[in-house]
Symmetry: C2
Subunit: 251 residues, 2 copies
């Protein structure tokens, strides 16, 4: 794993989308079959055994557990994966969370032939980033842009005007055919495209003023996991590994 200028290649790329039904979180596996290395984006603590097992079955080594932001709705699997695999963790510097690698806007992450560009997309939280894989025409949008929706802006450092600007300036400027892979979906949708969201996202097809009004009046409930998840995720889940899980790490 190295943070460097990326080499363009479509070869040997393996990709898997995974779902945690409790928090409706998507985890993504991106691997280079040639180098036999992979990245997990937004792993969930309760799904670490499943994900670790898949990584092994695919004959890959997990090199990096990457988060789009400091999540409030689930505990990250990053800490547990670090203990199991010795992988590095990475998150944006602006997130305020602990990690091995702190990412900045426009930075490039490369692993074998996989190249991800960090796009700063704050608004749901200050530290939210998206990861753009130009070679594969895909972008991982975290909680910034969801399918026909977007992340809420009523807790942590949420700010609807900043979110609107992030999405318009950093995501809606990507090639329209870019496939959008969000951190969550609650309706069984798994992917979209930038073009579709620009046309059909019910919130983002509105003016900034209207968008802010919508976001300020969602009247959503207090996030169930937030009081547990935020302290845990501030240390990338390092101190929140259930003891019983460690007794059976050979999967």
């Amino acid at each position: 794993m190295a943070l460097k200028t990326c080499v363009n290649s479509k070869n040997h790329f393996i990709f898997r989308q995974l779902f945690d039904s409790l928090s409706c979180t998507y985890t993504y596996l991106l691997g280079d079959l040639n180098k036999k290395e992979c990245i997990l984006i937004d792993p969930v603590l309760e799904q670490v055994k499943r994900d670790f097992s898949l990584v092994n079955e695919l004959g890959l080594k997990l090199c990096l557990a990457l988060n789009t932001h400091m999540h409030a709705d689930h505990i990250t699997g990053t800490g547990y994966l670090k203990k199991l695999t010795g992988c590095k963790s990475a998150i944006s510097k602006a997130s305020g969370a602990q990690a091995d690698i702190y990412l900045e806007d426009e930075e490039q992450i490369s692993l074998g032939n996989i190249c991800l560009k960090v796009l700063s997309t704050p608004g749901h939280t200050n530290g939210c980033v998206s990861y753009y894989c130009k070679d594969q025409h895909i972008v991982f949008t975290g909680d910034a842009l969801l399918i026909r929706g977007c992340g809420r802006t009523d807790f942590q450092e949420g700010d609807p005007a900043i979110l609107y600007k992030s999405i318009y300036s950093r995501l809606f400027t990507l090639p329209p055919e870019t496939v959008v892979y969000p951190a969550h979906d609650y309706r069984g949708m798994m992917s979209s495209t930038i073009s579709e969201e620009m046309k059909y996202n019910p919130r983002l097809t509105k003016s900034l003023e209207k968008f802010v009004d919508i976001m300020n009046n969602l009247n959503l409930g207090y996030p169930k996991q937030i009081d547990k998840a935020l302290p845990a995720n501030r240390s990338c889940g390092l101190h929140y590994i259930p003891k019983e899980n460690l007794q059976n790490t050979v999967l």
Copy 2:
């Protein structure tokens, strides 16, 4: 839509996987962006509005609602989609269910540049088929082959020995890199490959004798929806469209 010899082409193909969280069913959209036509495989009644909306937003016309078998765990959305779109329905002749088109083993379904070959894969039910899209290197395995699992064989015409033979003779003989898209997953896994299932499927890496023994001792509960779903699906859901849903068909 026509049942004829298929033309090989990778152009203009659009693909979406969709999920129904209640029954853990995957629905698949396959479209030809050039012809602006699409197929839905295994649509679920409760998700018809979502799926119909997506088809429209993608600028497609739904031509065919295709089922892998007569489901016992959910009511198919086929009947409702027929009413909304005028699409045709298709299912295997051996399923015993009503449809516009009855499919036989080795038959080819083509829609624009999409070509699906019917593979008879009984064992979960007598009428179970898989749909193989050679051009895209994907196979829709219904309830025959699941990710690290397989469909149960303890109701309808279930027979573990027949299922084992189906999977080994019709699915495990496909190119190993073929991507497996099942009708269900209960652990948040979305796809696999023939190669992975041959190596890691905990049931199918066993001998026929052992497999039959495993399947005959699963001690699963009575399927919750079966008494409602089977009669409904025998007519492809035609008579089970909630009246309130029909009042708002412009989505």
